[in-house]
């Protein structure tokens, strides 16, 4: 399974896990906001039904929460979460198979091997509206990237796509680490400003 998260966020994840165990539920919300899209994409490849994807994703995060004290930090948090997602999805599917009142196939493929889910299956939670909204967000991110000043663009590409640490980026760009941190921040700010209104449109919450 490919890890496309830059390595050094692991330390940050550990802190959020510790804080959650210490009673800070908001720390868990931060972890959810970070990982939910990847988890939903993963589940969406295993399961066809739109509502089921969300249910399984919800259940995954609840089970992870209950088992949090068992996470020893000796693997990436996402690796641990991934296994919970896969097991949860399998259980849901097994139960559906057993239920005689339920008909039709819920699985994207009959193989239960998780490696079969690497191929790009069309996702089950895609409806025309949601696809459009997602495409718009992706398009705006790319447009905003194109408009960034070179140094900001380089910094955020090295961080998010190449997965380099701040130290490595400061060497690559021959500038102090403080400058790296600032450039990445300014790049993110510029792009976020463009997508926040789109993200807000998706929610029923009032900000």
């Amino acid at each position: 399974m490919k890890e496309d998260f830059p390595q050094s966020t692991h330390a940050s994840d550990l802190v959020l896990v510790e804080r959650t165990l210490g009673g800070d539920q908001r720390a868990y919300s931060l972890l959810v906001l970070k990982y939910q899209r990847r988890i939903q994409r993963l589940i969406g490849r295993m399961v066809r039904d739109v509502d089921l994807v969300e249910d399984i994703a919800q259940e995954t995060f609840i089970r992870a929460y209950r088992a949090l004290h068992q996470f020893r930090g000796d693997s990436q948090f996402y690796t641990w979460l991934y296994r919970i997602a896969v097991n949860t999805a399998k259980k849901f599917l097994l139960e559906l198979k057993r239920d005689p009142t339920v008909s039709g196939s819920f699985m994207a493929s009959e193989e239960e091997d998780e490696t079969s889910w690497q191929k790009s299956e069309p996702r089950s939670d895609e409806t025309p509206e949601t696809v459009l909204a997602a495409k718009e967000i992706a398009a705006v991110v790319n447009a905003a990237m194109d408009e960034l000043a070179d140094d900001l663009k380089e910094a955020i590409v090295l961080r998010e796509i190449e997965g380099l640490s701040y130290e490595e980026i400061s060497l690559a760009m021959d500038c102090p680490i403080g400058t790296v941190r600032s450039r990445i921040f300014r790049a993110r700010e510029a792009i976020s400003a463009r997508i926040k209104p789109l993200l807000d449109k998706q929610t029923s919450k009032r900000w």
Binding site: A11, L14, A172
Partner: protein, 337 residues
């Protein structure tokens, strides 16, 4: 894309520079050597010549503490930075045996020299027979830890007086990546491990030196250790727990505000070790106001403590050993007649 290749070249160039300046190469693991000593020597040597960064996690009793680590080397010098991610915010720097810990919240920096005290390899010589008599080493093959191939070795005690260990050392370099302390039933009491590791990372020795020496804005407190003669103070340990040897006895002084010393004025610390496990016997004058609770305290993990009153004295025994062993130590401490 042009952008990426330029960046990559820069990073690669930097890595090459660091590698050639700091590294003298790893010794291959002596696969025939099943003595604990031999393996320990190899593992000890491993970290001396590598630069690495990573995240370190200690889990004990279901709780977890973590820190980010930077380690660099230059010739004979080892320099390390440990940035806490849990608990009180603090940064610990070590250059060979000098250690300084910065506490940003209180703006206090505590400086100490951690005297070799017969630490490696002297400790091995002193305990040479002990380790091999009291522990057995078994190689259990390879496992993957944090993306690296690591060799797993089990150290099993031959008696019930000490704990066992499972140690994973990175295959190529021997660097200890994960260490589990096991209780007498083989359950994991504590695990200390790199949850992520970058070997031969780009770590600037100069930068670490600079950070370590930058005490501006901090009040620096120095802790000093003095050697103490326990017998001269009237203490004797009639029968040391088998396998353990006394490794030294110390008292501490420092400015009143220093965390450790203020509370430990007049406390002596008598250290015993079997080469792998350590027990400290702390002795101080009995103080009715502070010393009310005798007995065992469980804090999770492999470290246990036990307190006992001996006439006008108060003993606290601390160690990574089963409680029964601590009890034996506590009972063996006596006032000279």
């Amino acid at each position: 894309m042009k952008l990426f290749s330029r960046a990559r070249m820069g990073v690669l160039a930097a890595l090459v520079v660091c590698l050639t300046s700091g590294w003298t190469g790893a010794q291959p693991i002596a696969s025939k050597d099943t003595s604990v000593n031999g393996w320990l020597m190899h593992v000890h040597d491993a970290s001396r010549h590598r630069a690495y960064t990573g995240t370190f996690v200690v889990s004990a009793g279901g709780s977890m503490a973590s820190a980010k680590i930077w380690h660099a080397c230059e010739g004979d010098q080892q320099i390390e930075r440990v940035e806490s991610l849990s608990g009180t915010p603090r940064s610990t720097f070590r250059r060979n045996d000098r250690v300084i810990t910065f506490f940003p919240e209180s703006r206090i920096a505590v400086a100490e020299t951690r005297d070799s005290l017969g630490i490696f390899p002297g400790i091995l010589k002193a305990n040479e027979s002990a380790i091999n008599d009291y522990y057995q080493l078994k190689r259990l093959g390879l496992e993957r830890i944090a993306g690296f191939e690591a060799e797993l070795v089990q150290l099993t005690p031959n008696d019930n007086l000490r704990y066992g260990y499972r140690v994973w050392s990175e295959k190529r370099t021997g660097l200890v990546m994960q260490l589990q302390t096991l209780d007498l039933d083989g359950r994991v009491l504590e695990q200390a491990a790199f949850s992520e590791l970058r070997l031969d990372a780009t770590v600037s020795v100069g930068k670490l030196h600079q950070m370590m020496g930058n005490t501006e804005g901090y009040r620096v407190e120095r802790l000093e250790l003095q050697k103490v003669n326990p017998e001269a103070r009237g203490w004797v340990v009639q029968k040391v727990v088998s396998g353990f040897r006394p490794m030294g006895c110390y008292g501490r002084t420092g400015p009143p505000a220093a965390g450790i010393s203020a509370r430990n004025e007049g406390v002596i610390q008598w250290i015993f070790s079997d080469g792998l496990a350590t027990v400290s016997l702390f002795v101080e004058a009995f103080d009715g106001k502070r010393h009310g609770r005798e007995g065992y305290t469980d804090m999770g993990g492999s470290t246990h403590t036990l307190t006992r009153r001996i006439d006008d004295w108060w003993a606290t025994v601390v160690g990574e050993v089963p409680v029964s062993t601590l009890m034996t130590f506590a009972m063996s401490l006596e006032r000279k007649k």
